[in-house]
């Protein structure tokens, strides 16, 4: 083990001498830096740095020597001489000195002002929106062409995506919808019991699940599960140049990758929603039956209260949500830049954008249904 560095400070009429000994690596240099700098206030015009007993010196040690030289100059020392330095160490010190003398100012990135930063962000956001709209147009065109030529759709991929995004999502959709139905029924049953109207909880559960919560909960689960998966898959393909490979083969990546995902998502979202509706109502049924009502009363109440147009309204929303979930995931994946965090950023943006769009379109549908009297 090399010895820890130390120094000896002496002063005579010719000037000061700092004799360093030991290992001058990053750890040693930082330790020495703290100890030596207070000694520089010596008002001596000459300083000798004696490195005879330095047993090891690396780039950190060489940088320390150069820093010490500059520090001494700034404290009024006129002449600094380094003595007894070994040849190989001397080369290293000279190398560090040369780097210091070079001007790297043109390589330092310009620091943007607050206004410039905000302006750049705004301009980037505008560009991104333009890109998003352009991809939306491209996808719409590809979908229209695919429906005109259904044989050209990659059905194998479509079924595979439908299985992964749909069938595999059944347990999580079931669990969440069941719990939502159960909790909602409990919360509603308590105040309604005061009026002896517990059975009307069935109406609440039925209408809420079919019109709003079923489609919304399913869409949010799929946004978190499938939209992020699509963004990650396509983003990784983008980084691995697989999308470029498709393009130069003359294959349209939108038709090849995005169309099957959108078709699969559009088909499975309504199916999952029907399942979610049933599970939510099952949750409500458990509460109602636990209050002593027969299950047939619960069923009759729902059937008499929930109309077919409520059910259809919910399903129409799901088709749109399905398109939004897949398109957002695919577009965000397609926009992936290079870099280690790029895919992570794309998946996050896919989920956030999908959820915002789902909420926005849910609001739009509510207004439309209100105007239509549905």
């Amino acid at each position: 083990m090399k010895p820890l560095p130390n120094f000896n400070f002496s002063k005579d009429e010719n000037g000061a001498v700092i004799a360093v000994k030991g290992k001058l690596d990053a750890k040693g240099a930082s330790r020495l830096m703290k100890a030596v700098t207070p000694k520089i206030f010596c008002n001596s015009p000459n300083l000798v740095l004696d490195l005879e007993n330095v047993s090891y010196l690396d780039t950190a040690g060489a940088s320390f020597i150069c820093h010490l030289e500059r520090f001494c100059m700034s404290r009024g020392v006129k002449n600094i001489s380094i003595v007894n330095i070994k040849h190989e160490y001397s080369n290293l010190v000279n190398l560090v000195r040369d780097i210091r003398e070079k001007d790297f100012s043109d390589q330092i990135p310009l620091k943007l002002s607050f206004v410039e930063t905000k302006g750049k962000r705004f301009s980037d956001a505008l560009y991104e929106t333009k890109e998003f709209i352009s991809y939306t147009g491209e996808i719409t065109w590809a979908l229209i062409q695919s429906f005109l030529h259904p044989k050209k759709i990659r059905w194998t991929d479509t079924f595979l995506v439908a299985e992964r995004a749909g069938v595999d999502a059944l347990p999580i959709v079931a669990l969440i919808s069941f719990i939502v139905g159960l909790v909602m029924a409990f919360q509603a049953a308590i105040p309604m019991k005061m009026f002896g109207a517990e059975l009307y909880v069935a109406d609440l559960i039925g209408i809420a699940m079919v019109r709003e919560l079923g489609p919304l909960m399913t869409a949010i689960v799929l946004a978190g599960r499938s939209s992020s998966a699509f963004a990650a898959e396509i983003g990784t393909m983008r980084i691995n140049e697989e999308i470029d490979a498709l393009t130069v083969m003359g294959l349209d990546p939108v038709k090849f990758l995005i169309v099957p995902r959108i078709i699969a998502s559009t088909v499975i979202t309504p199916l999952l929603t029907i399942f979610a509706n049933l599970m939510g109502m099952l949750g409500g049924a458990i509460v109602i039956t636990s209050m002593g009502y027969p299950i047939i009363s619960y069923y009759n109440e729902i059937v008499s209260f929930v109309a077919w147009n409520d059910f259809a309204g919910g399903l129409i929303k799901c088709f749109v949500f399905g398109i939004l979930i897949a398109a957002t995931g695919c577009i965000r994946g397609y926009q992936t830049n290079s870099g280690p965090s790029a895919v992570g950023e794309s998946t996050t943006r896919a989920v956030v954008t999908a959820i915002i769009l789902i909420a926005l379109f849910d609001g739009i549908f509510s207004i439309i249904y209100y105007c239509l009297g549905i």
Binding site: E241, A245, T247, V248, M249, G250
Partner: protein, 255 residues
């Protein structure tokens, strides 16, 4: 197999990103059957030029004419037809990770031909045999070494029997023996099948071993600073950048 007809013509090309040119006003021709190498230091625009030549990026201005058809002025349908006449092997291989090596090679055949499956399989096996990967046909890309990935990418690039193959840094990250094997493969394919190769690289050994003609790009010049055969550039002391590159020397004033 080298002929005097041009396979690719690049005319007054300004290429770059977001309308900021990396390369300005370059002109050159690649002859049919030759192995044409694009060299230059890092950041000089080699890959940018390649991306323009394979239609991944639109030129700021100028023309790229491939086998008599103008790629830069083509609509979607024409571009698709031009792209089917070329093959590209990317630096990373860019094999589709969800498909086996065999499926990767069969993909363009399936998409652009209506041949029955056994015929497609035969073609794919033949291409794999050409690159020496016939025993690895059913492996996933993850199971291949770096050199094998590049050879598989070359096999996929050859799937539709293109007249021109573009290779982006084929030797990058490979050991000298694997790299020499790949060079040998390229020269074999060029001489036996008459394929025109356009290769972007800065591997000196590969350049010396395979190239018929070279252009050298330079970052500050934003264009071609030297063109010729490897022998011409190696011995041309009037062109210090090319001379230094080929003789592995450094510029005056640089350490």
């Amino acid at each position: 197999m080298k002929q005097n007809q041009a396979a690719i013509k690049v005319e007054n090309l300004f290429a770059g990103y977001n309308n900021i040119p990396v390369i300005e006003n370059i002109n050159f021709e690649v002859l049919k059957g030759e192995i044409f190498v694009i060299i230059g230091g890092s950041g000089c625009g080699k890959s940018t030029l390649l991306k323009h030549m394979i239609g991944l990026l639109p030129p700021i201005s100028g023309n790229i004419i491939i086998l008599g058809e103008n790629l830069s002025r083509s609509d979607r349908k024409e571009k698709k037809s031009i792209l089917q006449k070329i093959g590209v092997a990317f630096q990373s291989g860019a094999l589709f990770g969800s498909m086996t090596v065999m499926e990767n090679i069969m993909l363009p055949l399936k998409e652009f031909t209506s041949l029955p499956y056994p015929v497609l399989e035969d073609i794919a096996f033949l291409k794999l045999q050409l690159v020496g990967l016939e025993k690895n046909a059913f492996l996933m890309p993850d199971e291949l070494s770096g050199g094998m990935k590049k050879r598989a990418a070359l096999a996929r690039a050859m799937a539709l029997d293109p007249s021109i193959i573009f290779l982006d840094e084929p030797s990058a990250g490979l050991d000298p023996v694997t790299s020499a094997g790949l060079d040998h493969l390229v020269t074999d394919l060029s001489s036996s099948l008459g394929i025109t190769f356009v290769i972007v690289t800065h591997e000196l050994a590969s350049i010396n071993a395979i190239s018929d003609r070279i252009i050298m790009l330079e970052k500050d010049a934003k264009g071609i600073i030297a063109a010729g055969t490897p022998e011409q550039l190696k011995n041309d002391q009037t062109n210090p950048d090319a001379y230094n590159f080929f003789n592995r020397t450094i510029k005056k004033g640089e350490k």
